[in-house]
């Protein structure tokens, strides 16, 4: 069922996304579009573990921040190209995620969530108060800037217009969705769903919940890290507050939950719905009303939790099934209900 909506809705969206830079030349709009794709990417990376294991992490921004710092520092200090730096950053994030995940995945529900916040906050507060660590200039709360090399330079990950940045994040988004699709069909995907459905039951059947949750978390942290490195490169600036603050984690979680967690397309739908709203509010009246877009995010989150606990992808799926006649609707609804019942 899920595959269908992924293609029916996903392919036209992809075609549209590929074509947009051909018509849009305004660099502000292109930048905003790249940001939509960025949040879709981050939400999808978050979804990779949280959506499938059914645990709510609000510490993912730590992975983005660590990878961003690694990338920027490798470039500014050692001259390593950000392309390699991104991979190194992603690997550092994955490495960090293993002890964190080992400690936290034994916890349930709110305990897990609050512990992930605690981990991320420790890291952020430490960074904000550390100007120099073992000779590495971290510059605390002030953050790091990436000096411009001048003009477009592929190796330096710096481009004149916004178009290259746009296509890079689009390719990354397609990549994370493909990875999610492969994971869904793999042994790992089935194990994760089993763990989400009934952790003890899965364990009794020989699925090691810690091991598989950790595998998914490490991949998710790696992907989140790539996104965090991209974020730092796009702005050529990184600081602890914006690049690893709790707001970034909350954004990822909200977009995934509103869109539909545990689905391939859901996080992207959530980002497509929420980020433009936030951006428009900020661009029009946001100057005088700081934080208005977050109020809207909060309201959307509450509405989604109450009315669409499985995300807006569920009514879209029903709409799609509706065209195939009544029987499909009933079957779809029953299936959706069954999913809802045992989902958590």
């Amino acid at each position: 069922m899920r595959t269908k909506i992924t293609f029916v809705l996903g392919l036209p969206l992809l075609a549209l996304a590929l074509a947009i830079p051909l018509f849009v030349t305004d660099s502000y709009i292109l930048h905003s579009m790249a940001m939509v794709l960025f949040f879709a990417y981050m939400a999808s990376s978050w979804n990779f573990v949280c959506g499938y294991v059914g645990q709510l992490s609000l510490g993912h921004s730590a992975f983005a921040g660590v990878a961003g710092y690694v990338t920027v520092l490798l470039f500014t200090q050692l001259g390593v190209t950000p392309w390699l730096g991104m991979l190194a950053g992603g690997a550092s994030a994955a490495l960090l995620s293993v002890p964190v995940g080992y400690a936290t995945f034994r916890l349930k529900g709110p305990y897990f969530t609050l512990t992930t916040i605690a981990f991320a906050e420790i890291l952020r507060i430490w960074l904000e108060n550390t100007d120099d660590f073992l000779g590495i200039p971290l510059k605390g709360a002030q953050g790091l800037t990436v000096p411009p090399v001048g003009g477009s330079n592929f190796l330096a990950f710096q481009f004149d217009g916004k178009v290259p940045y746009y296509y890079i994040i689009l390719a990354m988004l397609v990549g994370v969705m493909a990875a999610t699709a492969v994971m869904e069909r793999s042994r790992l995907g089935f194990y994760l769903k089993a763990i989400r459905g009934d952790r003890d039951g899965a364990e009794a059947l020989g699925v090691d919940p810690t091991r598989y949750s950790l595998t998914a978390l490490a991949i998710s942290a790696f992907l989140t890290g790539l996104g965090g490195a991209y974020y730092a490169q796009l702005f050529r600036y990184i600081n602890p507050e914006r690049n690893m603050g709790i707001d970034l984690s909350i954004d990822m979680a909200i977009m995934t939950i509103v869109g539909g967690q545990g689905t391939i397309l859901g996080p992207t739908l959530g980002a497509l719905l929420l980020h433009p709203i936030g951006e428009m509010v900020r661009a029009t009246i946001g100057g005088s009303f700081l934080g208005l877009h977050l109020i809207l995010y909060g309201i959307m989150l509450m509405l989604a939790v109450i009315y669409f606990p499985k995300g807006i992808i569920v009514p879209l799926q029903r709409l799609l099934d509706g065209r195939k006649g009544k029987r499909a609707v009933t079957r779809g609804a029953v299936k959706a209900d069954a999913l809802e019942g045992k989902g958590q």
Binding site: L56, T113, L114, T115, E128, I257, F289, I295, G298, I299
Partner: protein, 294 residues
């Protein structure tokens, strides 16, 4: 470090710790009765602090007088947040047990809305209330004790005792305890569970109305201080045992002393790292909390 500095740190830690305990009372009560972790707990405290600040800045009311307004206001806010926002979740669940993550998400939505409404209304500036009591201290055995903190500490003890007494002996208190023990049986005995939930949530917030007003004389406020108080409250509740009122005060005292002594060795901002570290350590050693049942 000499003994004098240390004893001063411990006394200060006990005072602020008592207040932490008082702030956490509502979280503990709400979780104990409804099994809902209120992510917006700290935001409600922040809201109370801004109410008190507003009354001081516009009408010149002393923060201690503004309690008369902040407590009922926060009760009403809590009552309606539960009645309007959270209760649909309870009604939806067939098994009548709220799946904890949904409730957490829902209250995370409340957190975003409340924090940002206040940010919109007051801006990100740091604000503080200057009243005489801020600078007054009494001396006990040669050690200065800040009067405003002492008042907060004593209030926490009194509120905890009064709440325990009320839960034991009043009609509503009995209904609340019955609902906490077994919601279905309470409902069968003629208790209006929805109303009990509304009152519990309102009460949990009303306590924050009190402590918000007691905190402003010596605590600068910004719109985003809620979250750290929320997390600290959760830590206090985990330390002292979920749903236990004396446990909440005890947990607060532990955290307060720990933080205060830790900040003698490192800067105050880095001391927050130690509270988070303590939080993680406790959850790792006892995943369901110090007193919790796994």
């Amino acid at each position: 470090m000499d003994l004098l500095t240390l004893s001063f740190a411990v006394i200060n830690g006990l005072l602020i710790g008592g207040i932490y305990g008082g702030v956490a009372l509502g979280l503990s009560l709400i979780f104990g009765v409804m099994r809902v972790i209120n992510f917006a707990h700290g935001s409600f405290l922040m809201l109370a602090m801004y109410c008190s600040y507003l009354l001081w800045a516009t009408l010149g009311l002393h923060p201690y007088v503004s309690i008369l307004a902040t407590v009922p206001f926060l009760f009403v806010v809590g009552y309606f947040v539960q009645g309007v926002v959270i209760s649909p979740l309870f009604k939806r669940e067939r098994a009548l047990v709220v799946e904890p993550t949904s409730a957490l998400l829902l209250t995370a939505g409340v957190y975003l809305v409340v924090d940002n409404i206040v940010l919109m209304a007051f801006g990100p500036d740091v604000r503080s209330v200057a009243v005489d009591i801020t600078y007054e201290s009494i001396f006990v055995a040669g050690l200065p004790i800040n009067l405003a903190r002492l008042v907060g500490f004593l209030a926490a003890i009194v509120v905890a005792a009064a709440l325990s007494f009320w839960l034991k002996h009043s009609e509503m208190g009995r209904a609340i305890r019955a609902t906490a023990q077994n919601r279905d049986a309470a409902s069968l005995s003629g208790i209006n569970v929805q109303r009990v939930y509304n009152v519990t949530f309102g009460l949990g917030c009303a306590v924050l109305g009190l402590f918000g007003a007691l905190l402003v004389p010596f605590f600068s406020i910004t719109p985003n201080i809620g979250l750290s108080f929320g997390i600290k409250s959760f830590l206090v509740v985990v330390l002292g045992g979920i749903g236990s009122i004396p446990g909440s005060i005890l947990g607060g005292l532990l955290l307060g002393v720990f933080e205060s002594v830790a900040s003698q060795f490192v800067t105050a901002t880095s001391a927050a790292i130690f509270s988070f570290g303590l939080f993680i350590a406790i959850l790792l050693l006892r995943p369901a909390g110090l007193m919790g049942r796994a």
